[in-house]
């Protein structure tokens, strides 16, 4: 399902989120382009998941605006347009793989042969054809997280928000999924993918580096390496953090 909106996929201004009295996101401005794979990187606790929850519209927000495909985040018009995969797999472990995917496909309005075709296509995309008839509770952890990913892919949402979708997967499967993400972006879908595996950064069209709820950098992978002079994304990220810490020390 694609809509005909030609602004940025996500526009955030002055976002402020408090969780348990802590400012998880103290004030954030960010624009995420449409039709690209945007990597959201940062150490754990940097606010990646919270930012994603704001974009999907399930997070209580203290201040600021989040606009998704031209609508306020979480509004009814977006329910078919935005697919969300949480870090922990959220599927039914007492249903088969196929029944899980089919139920989430029905939830976004697919029916009949269209539904069957979408489920078959998705099973191929996440490489679960062989286990389609098995109960999710009998699968491995990596397989379960792919069922959770499939439940979002099946509706072909305009914007996909994926929280660490490749954790616990082997290198071959990770390569295949990143290939799928790139194909989806070519077809005009927008993807926001969080990761703390820095070597995945090079697979993204754009990178947003978060630290303590603030945008440390919003660049292309090439710009990141050039700016820091580092040889890989891991080193580049550390260089950025060190530079910021040094700046912080000299300021205070």
């Amino acid at each position: 399902m694609m809509n005909n909106y030609d602004g940025p996929a996500v526009a955030i201004s002055g976002l402020h989120v408090v969780r348990g009295r802590r400012d998880v996101i103290p004030g954030l401005d960010l624009e995420i382009p449409a039709g690209a794979v945007v990597g959201l990187l940062g150490p754990s606790g940097s606010g990646k998941s919270t930012l994603m929850r704001c974009i999907v519209g399930v997070q209580v927000v203290t201040g600021g605006t989040v606009s998704v495909l031209g609508h306020p985040a979480g509004s009814a018009a977006l329910r078919r347009e935005v697919g969300y995969v949480t870090q922990a797999p959220s599927v039914y472990d007492d249903l088969t793989v196929r029944d899980n995917i089919a139920y989430f496909a029905r939830a976004v309005g697919l029916r009949g042969t269209e539904l069957g075709e979408a489920v078959d296509r998705t099973l191929v995309e996440v490489d679960l054809v062989d286990v389609g008839g098995r109960l999710v509770r009998d699968l491995s952890g990596g397989q379960e997280s792919r069922v959770s990913l499939a439940a979002a892919l099946v509706g072909r949402p305009t914007l996909l928000v994926l929280d660490e979708p490749t954790v616990g997967l082997d290198p071959v499967l990770r390569r295949d999924l990143w290939g799928l993400f790139a194909r989806l972006a070519e077809q005009g879908h927008s993807l926001i993918v969080s990761s703390h595996v820095m070597d995945e950064a090079t697979r993204c069209d754009r990178l947003v580096l978060l630290r303590d709820g603030l945008v440390l950098a919003d660049v292309t992978p090439e710009e990141l390496l050039m700016r820091t002079g580092a040889v890989d994304a891991d080193a580049a990220f550390l260089a950025l953090i060190d530079a910021e810490a040094a700046e912080h020390r000299s300021a205070s």
Partner: protein, 244 residues
């Protein structure tokens, strides 16, 4: 609300139960075992004819309360509920889907338990047997809606199970099972008038005593339905799209 999404949810709930053979066995067999045990204890007396119908009203509510409160708590904890609420599926589709799914399960339970009580335990029923099944289904939907409500207040599965004695046992003691409601101390009779299970049990008793119970049963079921609507309305407040 969208009928397609509601039915999809009911079908999904039933598919989940289908993979759990032990739960199905417990839902169908346990009421029969307990009814048989009571009939045996009171062999040669009229006591079973007095409490048997009340029990037929109690089982579906208790069982569906427990099953629903644990199942919805799992949906909250596993993240599936939050995920569903980001799709076009609404709170109403979610809740009515559960009520329809477990209502169908209750039909099976009620048919087996009623058949067992009447043909194996010789329960005397003056009214039509099918009406006992109808009342049992209303009781089951009542149990499901109270379970949806209770799950909103539970943080763990331990708490969810403990809500059974808290929500259900007082209703069980005051519903007319132990002594008829009009013989309770006045204050307790008032309280029993405020509890939904009392009306479910009244309806069951009416069917066993009265060959033409329709108007009395319709009144009782109307009240049960009122409690169902109120419980679902309150439960929908505990299902919010956004959380902190």
């Amino acid at each position: 609300m969208n009928p397609g999404l509601t039915l999809a949810t009911a079908g999904r709930v039933l598919r989940q139960v289908r993979t759990d053979h032990r739960t199905i066995a417990l839902i169908v067999v346990v009421p029969c075992v307990l009814l048989g045990l009571l009939a045996w204890i009171y062999t040669g007396t009229r006591v079973f004819d007095a409490i048997g119908p009340a029990l037929l009203g109690v089982f579906p509510m208790v069982v569906m309360f427990i099953v629903t409160s644990v199942a919805t708590l799992r949906e909250r904890q596993s993240g599936t509920l939050e995920r569903l609420l980001t799709t076009p599926l609404g709170k109403g589709d979610f809740m009515i889907g559960y009520a329809v799914g477990f209502g169908l399960l209750a039909v099976v339970q009620a048919v087996v338990a009623t058949g067992f009580a009447v043909w194996v335990c010789d329960l005397d029923v003056a009214g039509p047997l099918w009406l006992l099944v109808v009342v049992a289904v209303f009781d089951a939907v009542l149990g499901t809606s109270l379970g949806l409500l209770a799950s909103g207040f539970a943080r763990t599965e331990f708490q969810a199970v403990q809500f059974m004695p808290a929500f259900i046992l007082p209703q069980f003691l005051l519903c007319g099972l132990l002594i008829p409601r009009d013989q309770l101390p006045t204050v307790l009779e008032w309280i029993s008038n405020l509890l939904p299970l009392s009306y479910a049990v009244d309806a069951m008793k009416e069917i066993t005593r009265n060959a033409d119970p329709f108007s009395a049963v319709a009144g009782d079921l109307g009240i049960v339905l009122g409690f169902v609507v109120a419980a679902l309305a309150l439960a929908s407040l505990t299902l919010s799209r956004r959380s902190a």
